[in-house]
Subunit: 332 residues, 2 copies
């Protein structure tokens, strides 16, 4: 899923995402509820209509943004009271309210409000966040409208026993899908991989498994090899705006002098319809000149790169050519 | 002509400009010669290839930017010595060098280097700028490569006798087209219109007549009624980035509260393919949230509005329905 935090994937329109072949985007409950407001979006016909996107939308619960964006917040078992980062107004988010907002947005998949501890945290902090996540889990489910899918979220930090306990509890509830939360929160890869490898196989085989906030192509391949189905990540779009281009030869800096007169693509093996008419030299020039088209073309390229990765993952699973695929993206 | 100062019309790609139906864009000698450099663009195959635009390109001479962007400059009959606004390096622009740069860019229409006096200026300043423009005019022509079209530029400020003298002199030289310069430099409309009305009819009927830097739809209609054929203006694109939308009911501020829940277009009579799927409420939200897609959608709308204006101008000339057209755009 490309990330469209505020009801838009930065620099591209829905027509671009359709042409790139994406089937689902992620948007954000915290941001949309503060601006323009979930009631406004409901009144206007829902988020699909608002952003002119008739494919699937998943929203995260807003819990992560409450932690990362609001500097004044108090959390207890009832929910989180916080100050809006926009106007300083006091706001309250609970499992019930988060699911209600996502219902007003009218999205296809709602994520449960959980407590995602910061990294690093103590074992006690991880255990307490898990305890509250479990307390809230059924309240999320009970707040859903008829037809509103809700995913549960497994917490437990980097502790295998907590992850086992959390996977067991969340899987026991009638969620429509299960996510692994609390990864990609700043921890190094060598701490992320064991959590995924340990937790993913504990999830029910008949429900979608979603690894939140991951990641680099190799992280996605690792996670898929352990059974993960769904991903969202800001990397392709955020990296693009910071002039970083994904290629099969690794990420490249579009500002590099080597591209200044290079009348070809950054990667001969990664040429996509949206951007193939533009050379590396031109895209470098756009970035050097501060032109907005630079970020757009890089975004289109990186999204096309990720869309192809996901297509090739599906193909490789069907055809059994997994090792070739892993080798192909080894340094991407 | 949409304005693509640095080899790109801000926020849109060549595929967008093609879809909008534009046949020519304007780019800029001053900017491109400083960054990425005209030799680099020549080496890579010319500006058409560089920006992937195989329709027509006109470049302005760079003279206007030398005056407006460089705070250190000395001008004499040999040319202009100035400091780059990018790195402070000393640069020199003469008629010969300007036309040479435009030849390196490989554009379809080169503009002569002229001296465009600031507004306001004294009659002596206007006369001196005209004198130097005339001195330079043949040197521009003589510097062109075979097949490189060059337009001359009429100066003379707001003084009818100077404009008459300049139109006569410039028209006597074998330019491929004639431009009226020194308008749209900050003067009020009531000073601009008489200059256009006086000067345009003095130009040769068998060559394209180009009014540089104009303007609002009503300014364009006024100028066409006096015989002008070609225009460039940053208004549709610059206004768009400042959330101003052209409509047949006048320009509107997309941030206006009235649009916050408005699930329709800003103007029912101005709905264009590129942007018709997005409501005024959504575009307002994008601007309020600081999202780059806002500027892009507004740019696409405004460019489509201007493209239609120019199509309707051609149609009205052919069908004789000019008064209806003027009424239609009276408050746009």
């Amino acid at each position: 899923m490309p990330v469209g935090t505020q009801g838009t994937v930065k620099t591209v329109g829905s027509e671009d995402l359709e042409a790139l072949g994406f089937e689902q985007v992620l948007s954000n409950t915290y941001h949309l509820s503060l601006r323009p407001g979930s009631k406004l979006i409901e009144n206007i016909g829902g988020l699909h209509h608002f952003m002119s996107w008739n494919r699937s939308i998943l929203t995260d619960s807003g819990g992560y943004q409450v932690m990362s964006l609001s500097n004044t917040r108090t959390i207890d078992d009832s929910g989180v009271k916080f100050k809006s980062h926009l106007d300083g107004s006091f706001q309250f988010l609970s499992p019930e309210r988060s699911i209600e907002i996502q219902g007003e947005l009218g999205v296809d998949i709602s994520m449960s409000l959980d407590e995602c501890p910061a990294f690093p945290c103590t074992r006690d902090e991880a255990a307490n966040a898990m305890r509250r996540t479990h307390l809230w889990a059924p309240r999320n489910l009970q707040s859903a409208k008829v037809g509103q899918a809700v995913f549960g979220i497994v917490q437990g930090g980097v502790h295998e026993d907590l992850r086992t306990e959390s996977a067991g509890f969340i899987s026991s509830l009638p969620f429509d899908g299960i996510a692994i939360g609390g990864v990609s929160v700043g921890e190094p890869t060598e701490m992320q991989y064991p959590v995924v490898a340990h937790t993913a196989p504990l999830l029910p085989p008949d429900k979608p498994r979603y690894l939140m906030g991951v990641g680099h192509p190799k992280d996605i391949l690792h996670a898929v090899s352990h059974g993960i189905d769904m991903f969202d990540c800001v990397l392709p779009t955020r990296m693009a705006r910071h002039h970083t281009i994904y290629t099969l030869n690794g990420r490249v800096n579009a500002l590099g002098k080597k591209w200044s007169e290079f009348d070809g693509p950054f990667d001969e093996q990664s040429v996509f319809p949206h951007t193939e008419r533009y050379s590396a030299a031109y895209i470098r020039h756009l970035f050097k000149a501060g032109e907005p088209l630079g970020g757009r073309l890089a975004t289109l390229h990186n999204l096309a790169f990720y869309a192809r990765l996901m297509r090739e993952i599906r193909d490789a699973i069907e055809t059994g050519s997994w090792p070739d695929l892993v080798a192909r993206y080894a340094i991407a």
